[in-house]
Amino acid sequence: MRWDAPAIPLVERPPDAVLFRRPSGPVTAAAFLADAHALAARLVPARHVLNLCHDRYAFAVAFAAALLRGQVSLLASDRAGPGGAGLYPETAYPDTAAVIDAEAEAPRGLASVRVAPTGREAGGEAGRPAAAGPTPLLRSDQPAAIVFTSGSTGVPVAHRKSWGAIATRSMAAGACFGFAQANPASIVGTVPPQHMYGLETTVLLPWHAAVSSWCGPAFFPADVQAALDAVPAPRVLVTTPLQMAALLQAGVGGRHDVISATAPLDAALAAAAEAAWGGAVCEIFGATEAGSIAHRRTLADAAWRPYPGLSVTASDGGASVAAPHAASVDLADLIEPAPDGGFRLLGRRADIIKRGGRRASLEGLNRILAAVEGVADGAFVVPEDLDRRSTARLTAVVVAPGRSAAAILAELRGRIDPVFLPRRVVHVEALPRNTLGKLPRAALLALLDAAG
């Protein structure tokens, strides 16, 4: 830690500002801080806190409580095997306790604390008002979170976040999207809090920007409609292209802006959303390693504008982003500089595939497939529209005379991120490798066609 690291308040909103909206009612900054302090007092004193809360408010309280205690939150999406196995590399984080909420199960082998029902640690909806003490200041270099993504070998990869790195980004987002103190916006987020996009935009944003975040159900179109109806205008739907398409199909109505991330947003879908909902449709470009990086209004801006303080540069065969409070990070995307200091996205590095906001190396997946016992050779076939079509899935093509599709799938489970599990495993006699051992995509597709 640097002794001169600047401090950033945990929350920088007026005490009576509404930060979160639960189905049971709004939660002010003062009440949120009271809940966070109350939970902090009873957290298990471990170095790391595995935050497994599903409820967005319980998650936020637990995340703030860990920060107040100087504990580092471990964020892994909900893809646990039995007893929470496989969420994070457990042996690398022996000093870990878990925080769970009402419906979550405690992972095996970890001490855990259950957040009070509805997250109201400090006495419930009619709880005592918080003492109007000074807002806690946290050093910007305080380790805040470790976010796990699936690695190319099946072992989750850790991405470390300092308080400064995540706080400055959510503060910047407030400025980028023009949230005004005079007229605070209501965010309804469909993305989970454990994902970087959900964390920044639906959990942390209200701590510093003039927004509140909805903490009730927001998954099915009917949930989202009810949430949009329940919160005051101006409203902002924070979602993904796939979910947006589903909401439009379901005829969800109302007037609201949209923020979309995790995959490129099709211009036609953006146009349909602006027409249906009468608001601006904006996108965030980001990566787990770096958080939110740039934004644009899909229909108006060809180029992306980096968040204040960030610089995005094209480098040989790739791109990188440099941020305050964090090391420069290589991106999985290819960019070209645009005249106004922005950039255009040219696509992803050839090896990188994405689905459901998760990213993987195709080469890594192929290695894992080839390592399955009884698989002599194998490769995944990836649809071009994997990140845009909800029914798109990988297909595994294998040379594995002695092993059934079900047996191969069972072995892949737990080794690769479930979003990349194949929906079909197709047996073939040989893969169409060329003389260099490479698999031309066209030849693979032809083989798959022939296999029916």
Binding site: P23, H54, D55, R56, S77, D78, R79, A102, E103, T190, V191, P192, Q194, H195, Y197, G198, C215, G216, P217, A218, F219, F220, P221, A222, D223, A226, T239, T240, L242, Q243, A246, Q249, A250, A261, T262, G356, G357, R358, S390, T391, R393, A396, S404, A405, A406, I408, L409, R413, P418, V419, L421, P422, R423, R424, V425
Partner: protein, 124 residues
């Protein structure tokens, strides 16, 4: 939120679990004589056909075992599938799924439980 939060993941979230691959050599539930021995009721069969069509599954509708889990290790659906299913169910049966239903885990447990929920709530 609730039991449904496993569902609430949406597409940036983790799927509820994993996706299964139909094993073409031995479709689930198929009896040795090749007949569908799954004992699907007419309503279950209709729902199975809707699910297979909406999700573009490779598995034949009559091979879906009524009591097997839809998500995770059974049929292997994930949260993106849950969203697609909600759209198809709303179009076909005229009612909306909600994730604040306390019984959502039960409702989505299997073809049989989902079919029963639909029969109880359908408007067409």
């Amino acid at each position: 939120m609730s039991k449904t939060n496993n569902l609430a993941a949406a597409d940036v979230a983790e799927p509820m679990n994993a996706m299964a691959v139909p094993d073409r050599q031995s479709p689930q539930g198929q009896s040795p004589d090749g007949q569908s021995g799954n004992g699907q009721s007419a309503a279950e069969r209709a729902l199975a056909e809707l699910i297979v069509a909406a999700l573009q599954l490779e598995v034949p509708a009559d091979a879906i075992v009524p009591d097997a889990p839809l998500f995770g290790k059974g049929l292997g659906l994930d949260s993106i599938d849950a969203l697609e299913m909600a759209l198809a169910i709303s179009r076909t049966y005229g009612f909306e799924l909600r994730s604040d239903d306390e019984r959502n885990h039960q409702i989505f447990a299997s073809l049989r439980s989902l079919a029963a929920h639909i029969e109880a709530n359908r408007t067409r």
